[in-house]
């Protein structure tokens, strides 16, 4: 098992290098280089900033030298400083934003799994029932609903019309004056709408997939065997079938992570949550390249790590994967 984990770890090193390469490539894509955008009217384009840019990216050097130098600093997690007047290191900026994005994504993942598994299992065991049909409709509509639109509608309904939930930021204005338990609730209540919106689309996908996976598993011989030896239906479905049906779903969990994290961009923008997604949008608008690049590298690396964890977890529960040594078949 340790060997398997180690091999997966080694395999992800080239990917990590690739991430930095693609991120670097993106920034060098701009016709004329990133300096071209800093026109004289641009308030960011003081001579000092230009000088810093030239130094940071080594724009007077050949491109592979530039990449090498940049990589050398990125390895030490030095992404340079933001162009904004405060001039903070990029890593500090990202560090301020990362926890809330991580918290939300982990919460979304758990909620999706917590709901999708029972929904999918029930659909599969009652295939073609009314319940199955209703969930199928929900799945298709869920797939098709733009998250930003759903976010706006829910804001309007629960925030504006009913006034039940706060619609932006993480804390109310009077947060400081609230007693501790109310502070906790205040924070949680700010997260309810964004997390609900982010969960919606993923929930549809996962419950569909869970249903399919379950439908395939209940037709297997070992499920029949379990029934034949007189186990209760509960044990057959809940233990023998469910465990096997969960395996492919775990793979999908890993595959859909980038999508979930990418969704943070829109959710955080709508609900004014100071996370990585909002930071990305803000720095794109202000053309704050060091932050954009740092953000891209960090987000992709996080996805890689999450995929790695999913892979190793998969190897833990399914010996076929780790003994075969091959990546899951596609």
């Amino acid at each position: 098992m340790l060997l398997f984990a180690l091999r997966r770890l080694l395999l992800s090193i080239p990917l990590l290098v690739g991430i930095t390469f693609v991120s670097f490539l993106v920034i060098s894509l701009a016709p004329g280089g990133p300096l071209d955008f800093l026109t004289p009217e641009d308030p960011n384009a003081s001579a000092e900033v230009k000088q810093r840019l030239i130094q940071e990216f080594g724009l007077d050097q050949p491109i592979y030298v530039q990449y090498g130098r940049w990589l050398g600093r990125v390895v030490r997690l030095d992404f340079g400083r933001t162009f904004l007047p405060d001039g903070k290191p990029v890593l500090t900026k990202i560090g301020e934003r990362l926890p809330i994005t991580l918290l939300m994504n982990v919460a979304e993942m758990l909620i999706i799994l917590g709901f999708a598994v029972p929904i999918g299992v029930l659909s599969a065991t009652r295939q073609y029932s009314l319940y199955d049909k209703v969930t199928t409709i929900f799945v298709f509509v869920g797939f098709a609903t733009p998250d930003f639109w759903l976010g706006l509608l829910l804001m309007f309904l629960f925030g504006v019309q009913l006034g039940w939930l706060p619609i932006s930021g993480l804390r109310s204005l009077n947060w400081e004056y609230l007693p501790l338990w109310q502070q906790q609730w205040d924070f949680v209540s700010h997260l309810i709408l964004p997390i609900a919106v982010a969960t919606f689309g993923g929930l549809a996908g996962f419950s569909r997939y869970m249903r399919q996976s379950m439908l395939e598993v209940i037709r297997q011989d070992y499920v029949q065997t379990a029934r034949a030896k007189g186990l209760s239906e509960r044990a057959v479905i809940g233990k023998h079938a469910l465990r096997n049906a969960l395996l492919p779903v775990m793979t999908i969990l890993g595959l859909s992570l980038p999508g979930l994290i990418g969704g943070s961009v829109i959710i955080e923008t709508i609900f004014a949550i100071p996370g990585m997604g909002q930071l990305m949008v803000q720095s794109v608008f202000s053309r704050d390249y060091p932050v954009v690049m740092g953000n891209l590298v960090i987000v992709a690396s996080l996805t890689l790590v999450a995929n790695l964890i999913a892979d190793i977890g998969y190897g833990l529960v399914d010996p076929r994967i780790r003994l075969g040594g091959r990546r899951r078949s596609r």
Binding site: I27, V141, D147, G205, L255
Partner: protein, 296 residues
């Protein structure tokens, strides 16, 4: 495709497909949307960029069925014109993605070995980037025009197709008709394009049908952020962007463009799933592609 499949297969496909009410319904709506988009200049009751300062944020009425926006422009006409942009972005970007995916996927599947390894690592690498972050990084540098948007959505969306095509090639490469044509001296290009590729098209077709709604969602998301197709073009995403600031007083600007996106994406998905089911059992692989799409 028809000339490579026996007539019976086509008929069987049609029978299964037409028996699926949801898929047929979806296709009808897709067809209607295309017609609406093409005929938008004839159908739109107003010029979509005509300003009318006397009717700012007017609620839906007889003259403006879906109301007007902050500049007094007719929302219905803008939604109709938005359909043109959305569908165009969907078609073109999926076209680009399919082209890249087919080329790289067939190269990987046919050659195997080092070529395969390199291309598949590249696919893995591209999939590690959350798409929205990658798109935004590119948009920080390029001026967002409709062509930029189409291109970069295409350039970040080919990985599923590449995997599908590669998987098809891996099995088809070993089939008798391919080995025979190679043994009588058919060139690589001929084998790939005449013999293998036509047989791998079915899953690609499904991936394309399901890729269009995904691209539409992506485009509208970018336009909603203000980083997609720019004014004066009306797109569903940028109408929603205008609408979000006045949500409390002009719900119609948010409700209707969003519904347009939902209906479009829903119909394409229903149609795509219908095609996939009708092409089954050849299409196990397509499922993986569909799930990758799940993350948008």
């Amino acid at each position: 495709m028809p000339d490579k499949h026996s007539r019976g297969e086509v008929r069987q496909f049609w029978q299964t497909f037409s028996g699926n009410q949801l898929a047929v319904g979806g296709s009808v709506v897709v067809g209607a949307l295309v017609i609406l988009a093409v005929l938008a200049p004839l159908l739109a009751p107003w010029d979509p960029s005509r300003l009318d300062t006397t009717r700012i944020l007017a609620p839906p009425s007889n003259s403006h069925w879906l109301g007007t926006d902050q500049l007094g422009r007719d929302v219905l006409s803008r939604v109709l014109y938005g359909a043109r942009i959305s569908l165009a972005v969907g078609f073109v970007s999926v076209g680009i993605a399919t082209l890249i995916g087919v080329l790289l996927g067939s190269a990987a599947g046919y050659h195997g070995g080092m070529v395969d390894t390199v291309i598949m690592r590249l696919v893995d690498l591209m999939l590690v980037f959350p798409r929205f972050f990658l798109l935004l990084a590119v948009l920080a540098l390029l001026k967002p025009s409709i062509w930029t948007i189409m291109t970069i959505i295409g350039l970040t969306g080919w990985m599923g197709v590449a995997r599908l095509v590669r998987a098809e090639f891996l099995t088809l490469r070993e089939r008798e008709f391919v080995i025979w044509s190679e043994s009588i001296g058919a060139g690589t290009l001929r084998v790939v394009f005449r013999h293998i590729l036509p047989n791998a098209l079915a899953p690609v077709l499904v991936a394309m049908t399901l890729g269009i709604p995904a691209a539409i969602l992506t485009e509208s998301g970018l336009s909603f952020l203000g980083l997609g197709v720019q004014p004066p073009y009306a797109t569903w995403g940028n109408i929603l962007n205008d609408g979000k600031d006045v949500l409390e007083i002009a719900w119609w600007m948010t409700l209707y463009p969003g519904l347009a996106i939902l209906i479009t994406v829903l119909s394409y998905n229903l149609m795509g799933e219908g095609i996939r089911d009708a092409l089954d059992p050849r299409l196990r692989v397509a499922r993986v592609g569909r799930i990758i799409r799940l993350g948008r």
